[in-house]
């Protein structure tokens, strides 16, 4: 009996340690509820996810002006917003870098970039860098697709926009579009997580 008890304790300890190891990992996993925020947009107004009453979800993109990968994807982020905002999945872009380290990502530079590129989505400053660590974003660009549910905005996809940063015309798989299309059709998302090279978020 004693050995059985010991065994039970051992199993429990092991299970617990595996569990803690998992929860210690930073950031959201698929299925987690993402935090809302109130961040300053380039027009000076504060923006929260809860402002979008009619949205079915959000394409949250951590991006910036200064990363060549982020720049390579600018037009494709804008295209995502054009395609999906009216269908209930607007793009919400968040600039996570410390602007003391990257002056090219200051709010004025963000305004200038948004104007030059004709961004139609909110481009928010993660002032104080409080939001990106909660999401677990590590780089720009880094996408979190959220679905609005009763329990909150649930993370449905994390990763890259598509599979070719170099050449939009040579893309084979549009990860984000496929994921949003699946949500719109009420289907299971096939590829829920992808990885891509990006620029480290500057702290």
């Amino acid at each position: 009996m004693n050995t059985l008890k010991l065994f039970a304790v051992m199993v429990l300890t092991l299970a617990l340690s595996v569990f803690t190891a998992n929860t210690e990992d930073d950031g959201y996993k698929i299925g987690d509820v993402a935090t809302d925020f109130s961040l300053e947009n380039i027009d000076g107004k504060m923006v929260s996810l809860s402002d979008f009453k009619d949205a079915k979800g959000f394409i949250v993109v951590f991006t910036c002006n200064t990363c060549p990968y982020a720049v390579a994807y600018e037009d494709r982020v804008e295209a995502l917003n054009k395609k999906y905002a009216d269908k209930g999945y607007p793009v919400v872009a968040i600039m996570p870098n410390n602007t003391d380290v990257k002056p090219g990502d200051s709010i004025d530079e963000m305004k200038a970039r948004a104007k030059a590129k004709g961004f139609t989505f909110p481009y928010l400053m993660d002032k104080g860098q409080k939001i990106y660590p909660q999401y677990g974003a590590t780089k720009t660009p880094h996408v979190y697709l959220l679905e609005k549910t009763k329990k909150g905005n649930v993370v449905k996809y994390i990763g890259a926009i598509d599979d070719n940063y170099k050449d939009a015309s040579a893309v084979k798989t549009k990860y984000v579009e496929n994921a949003v299309d699946a949500l719109l059709k009420g289907k299971e998302i096939e590829v829920k997580e992808t990885r891509a090279i990006g620029c480290t978020i500057k702290v």
Partner: protein, 182 residues
């Protein structure tokens, strides 16, 4: 060379105006330096790999300690830590340490940015270019925990392997490296 002679002649001929001729000399010097740099950098034999080509280079089974750093000329924290990798490549040569710098620069920038950077910094560690768009395949293959942010570094020998998704100071890099030295 002809241009240089013409320029020098111009410099000599325009002696009347002193400020002008210093300008001329400077201009000729600059163009000369740029030409030199371009020539040197064009000489650099840059090998370009996709993941299948790179894979054996980052999984060598020999008696050396290998330090592999993923970087790009556009990545400020990468450029900042690059001298430390150069230093350990030099200082730990006798300890069988070998540094490989894997550049993730865009192919269109190989000649305009990467090669001139290697020449200007006189980089001694081996530099290879890595060009493979299927990042979702090779990022987890290189390390299951890599989110894809650079700089990233692998230190390994035939017994042990560690992956770092971070920037290093010289001290931090040496501390990690020493774990691999016998």
């Amino acid at each position: 060379m002809k241009r240089l002679i013409i320029l020098s002649l111009l410099v000599i001929c325009s002696c009347k105006n002193k400020s002008e001729d210093t300008k001329e000399i400077k201009a000729s010097e600059i163009s000369l330096n740029e030409n030199k740099e371009a020539e040197n950098s064009a000489d650099y034999d840059l090998k370009i790999y996709d993941y299948d080509g790179l894979e054996p280079l980052i999984n060598k089974n020999d008696d050396k300690v290998h330090v592999v750093n993923f970087w790009a000329t556009w990545c400020a924290p990468c450029v900042k830590e690059l001298p430390y990798f150069e230093e350990i490549n030099e200082e730990y040569k006798d300890n069988n340490v070998e540094v490989l710098l894997v550049s993730l620069d865009f192919p269109r920038n190989y000649d305009s940015k990467l090669k001139p950077f290697i020449a200007k910094r006189n980089i001694q560690s081996q530099v290879v270019a890595f060009d493979d768009v299927d990042q979702n395949r090779w990022i987890p293959a290189i390390d299951k925990d890599w989110s894809g942010a650079i700089p990233a570094t692998i230190i390994y020998n035939k017994d042990k392997r560690k992956f770092y998704e971070q920037s290093f100071t010289k001290e931090e890099l040496e501390t990690e490296l020493k774990q691999f030295l016998k």
